[in-house]
C-alpha cells in the first residue's frame, strides 16, 4: 500500500511507465528436471527510460520479458508497474494488457491483415475507437512513420524493416506505458538497422514511452539506451549497469565519438566474460 500511495504522489512529477523488477526467479521443468532461467534478478526502470538488456544467448532475457508481458508466470519475486503489482506473491501471472506492448523477435504482424488493419486492430478490439475511426487513426499514424504508401499492403509484401516499423506503430497506437522489444532488429543488415534505430529514437523523442529492449548488439544497446543492463549467463541475474550519458537527440555520428567507444569497451568487458561462460557451459552440455 505504501508503494502505491508513493507512486500516486510522484506520478505527476515523474513520467509513467516505471517498472520495478524485484528478486524475480523463474524455474521451468519441462522434462522433470528443474531449469532455472532467471535467478533473483532485480532492476529498477524509471518511467520514460530506455533500458537495454544485454546478455549471452539463451540466458533468460526473453523469460524475463515474457513475465512482464504476462505470457507466463514467474516462480518468485514481484514485478510492479507504476507501483501496481503486475505479478508477484499470490499472483504468479500478469494479466495481458495493452499498457505493456510487445514487439516480437520474428515479427508478429498478422499476415492476413493489411498494415492498416493490423494497426487498427488494437483500438477496435478494445472498443477504444469505432472500427472506422481506428482505421483512420491507423492510416494517419502509419503515414507519420513514413508508411503512407503501404497502407493496403500485406506484411508479406513489404520489407522486414517496414514490417517492423509498422509493428511498432501497432504497439504505439494503444498509448502503452511500456514498450517491450525482444531483439526486434536481429535479422536485419547493418544499414537497415541504422535506419530502424533512427526511426525508433525519433519515435521515443516524440512519445517518451518506457522502452525495455533486449539485444545482443552492444553498439545498438549504447546508441539507443539510457541504461545498459548487462545480465549473466543462465540463470539470468543483473551483473552490471552502465549509464549512457550521451545527450539526446542522438545521431549516427554519435557512434564514432570517443565517449561512445569508451562505453562500448566497458560494456564489452562485462559481456565478454559472460559470453565465454555461456559458451563453455554449452560445450559441457553437449559433451
Amino acid at each position: 500500500m505504501k508503494v502505491k500511495s508513493m507512486a500516486k504522489n510522484t506520478s505527476k512529477a515523474e513520467k509513467k511507465g516505471a517498472l520495478s523488477i524485484k528478486n524475480v526467479t523463474k524455474i521451468y521443468d519441462p522434462t522433470g528436471v528443474n531449469v532455472m532461467a532467471v535467478d533473483d534478478c532485480s532492476m529498477e526502470i524509471a518511467g520514460g527510460e530506455v533500458c537495454m538488456i544485454v546478455g549471452p544467448s539463451g540466458c533468460g532475457k526473453t523469460t524475463l520479458l515474457n513475465g512482464i508481458a504476462g505470457f507466463h508466470s514467474i516462480t518468485e519475486g514481484s514485478i510492479h508497474l507504476d507501483g501496481e503489482l503486475l505479478c508477484g506473491p499470490g499472483k504468479p501471472k500478469a494479466d495481458q494488457s495493452a499498457e505493456r506492448m510487445v514487439v516480437f523477435q520474428h515479427g508478429a504482424l498478422f499476415p492476413w491483415k493489411t498494415l492498416q488493419e493490423n494497426v487498427a486492430y488494437g483500438p477496435s478490439v478494445q472498443k477504444a475507437l469505432s472500427p472506422a475511426q481506428a482505421m483512420d487513426k491507423a492510416g494517419q499514424m502509419l503515414a507519420e512513420a513514413g508508411l503512407g504508401n503501404f497502407l493496403k499492403k500485406y506484411p508479406g509484401e513489404v520489407s522486414s524493416g517496414m514490417a517492423r516499423r509498422a509493428e511498432i506503430v501497432r504497439a504505439l497506437i494503444n498509448n502503452p506505458k511500456v514498450l517491450l522489444l525482444d531483439e526486434p532488429y536481429r535479422a536485419m543488415d547493418a544499414l537497415t538497422k541504422q535506419i530502424m534505430h533512427e526511426s525508433l529514437l525519433e519515435t521515443y523523442d516524440r512519445t517518451g514511452v518506457t522502452i525495455f529492449f533486449i539485444t545482443h548488439d552492444l553498439e545498438e544497446a549504447i546508441f539507443l539506451g539510457d541504461k545498459v543492463h548487462i545480465v549473466t549467463t543462465r540463470p539470468c541475474q543483473l551483473k552490471k549497469t552502465v549509464e549512457v550519458k550521451i545527450p539526446r537527440p542522438r545521431s549516427y555520428e554519435t557512434q564514432s565519438s570517443e565517449k561512445f567507444r569508451k562505453l562500448l569497451a566497458e560494456v564489452n568487458d562485462a559481456v565478454h566474460e559472460e559470453a565465454v561462460k555461456a559458451f563453455k557451459a554449452g560445450e559441457r552440455e553437449l559433451a
Binding site: 495481458q96 494488457s97 495493452a98 508478429a108 493489411t114 478490439v125 500485406y154 509484401e157
Partner: protein, 290 residues
C-alpha cells in the same frame, strides 16, 4: 535503355493482368509439353486397344470407338452428349456431391477449428474421430443402408463421412500451425477470446483448411462413386456398374472420363475460392517467386 526497369509503368490489373499472364505462359514450353503429353497418352491408348489390339485390351473400347459414340446424335450404346440420360446421371452425382461436400465442410471446418482452439474440446472429440477415421468407407455401406432410408440417404452419408474426416483434421492442424506469437500479440492488443478466434484462429488456419478442402472434394467424389455402385439408382458411379453389368463398355469409359473432368473442375473451383479468400497468402507466395 531497354534493360532498365520501367519504373513509371503501371502494373496490369484485372483482365489485362490475365492477358499478360496468359501471354507469358504460352511463351514458355510448358503448355505445349502438356498438349504433347495428352496426345502421347491418347496415342498409347489407341495403339493398345485399336492399333495393335494387344491381348485383353481388345475387351476395352479404344479412343476412336468412344469418341464416335460420345459425340454421336444416335449413340450405339445409349450414352452421348446428346442424350438426356447422360446429363441426368451427371446432375444427380453433382447434386449429391454439393450436398455431401456442403455438410462435410459446414460441420468439419467449425469442429476442426474448435478442436484446435480449445484443449478440452479436442480431448473430448479427437480420440473418437481418430478411431472412426481409419474405417474404410466401404465398410460403412451396410450400416448406412440399415440406418438410412431410400437410395439418397446412404449415398450422401458415405460421401459426407469421408470428406468430413479430411476437413476436420486439416482444420485442426491448421490451428496447430499458427505461430504462438500471433496469439500473444493478439492478447497484448487486448483481444477477447472470441476476437482471437475470429482474427487469428480462422484466418491463420485458412491455408490448411483449403488444402484440406481440395483433398476432401476428391475424397467425396471417390466415396460417392463407390456408394453409387453399391446402392444407387442414378449417378455416374451407377452408370459405370450398370454399363458393365449390361456388357456395354463404351458408356462405362465415358462415365469414367466424365468423372475425371468434373473432379478436376470441382477441385479448381475450390482452389479459386481459396485464392480469393486468401489474397494475403497468394501475394506472400508471389513475393517468394511462387
Amino acid at each position: 535503355m531497354n534493360t532498365s526497369a520501367d519504373s513509371n509503368k503501371v502494373a496490369p490489373e484485372g483482365f489485362n493482368l490475365f492477358l499478360y499472364r496468359t501471354k507469358k505462359k504460352f511463351s514458355g514450353p510448358d503448355p505445349y509439353l502438356t498438349i504433347a503429353g495428352v496426345f502421347l497418352w491418347l496415342f498409347v491408348y489407341w495403339v493398345l486397344c485399336e492399333g495393335l489390339q494387344v491381348w485383353r485390351f481388345t475387351k476395352l473400347p479404344g479412343p476412336v470407338a468412344i469418341s464416335k459414340d460420345w459425340f454421336s446424335m444416335t449413340p450405339f450404346q445409349g450414352i452421348s452428349i446428346f442424350t438426356q440420360e447422360y446429363y441426368d446421371h451427371i446432375y444427380v452425382s453433382c447434386q449429391r456431391i454439393l450436398i455431401a461436400f456442403g455438410i462435410a465442410t459446414g460441420l468439419g471446418v467449425p469442429l476442426g477449428l474448435f478442436m484446435g482452439w480449445s484443449r478440452s474440446i479436442r480431448d473430448y472429440i479427437f480420440p473418437i474421430i481418430e478411431l472412426l477415421r481409419p474405417i474404410p468407407i466401404l465398410a460403412w455401406v451396410p450400416l448406412s443402408i440399415l440406418l438410412l432410408p431410400g437410395f439418397e440417404g446412404p449415398v450422401i452419408f458415405l460421401a459426407t463421412l469421408a470428406s468430413f474426416f479430411v476437413t476436420t483434421l486439416n482444420a485442426m492442424l491448421g490451428v496447430d500451425s499458427i505461430d504462438e506469437e500471433y496469439f500473444r500479440a493478439a492478447g497484448c492488443l487486448g483481444s477477447s477470446r472470441w476476437d482471437i478466434f475470429k482474427n487469428v484462429v480462422v484466418p491463420g488456419a485458412l491455408p490448411f483448411i483449403f488444402t484440406g478442402l481440395q483433398i476432401s472434394i476428391g475424397v467425396a467424389w471417390f466415396s460417392l462413386v463407390a456408394a453409387e455402385m453399391v446402392s444407387g439408382d442414378l449417378g455416374l458411379g451407377y452408370l459405370i456398374v450398370d454399363a458393365y453389368m449390361n456388357n456395354v463398355t463404351v458408356p462405362m469409359v465415358i462415365a469414367m472420363i466424365t468423372l475425371g473432368f468434373i473432379g478436376y473442375f470441382s477441385s479448381a473451383c475450390v482452389r479459386a475460392l481459396g485464392d480469393r479468400l486468401m489474397a494475403w497468402h497468394v501475394k506472400e507466395l508471389a513475393q517468394q517467386g511462387r
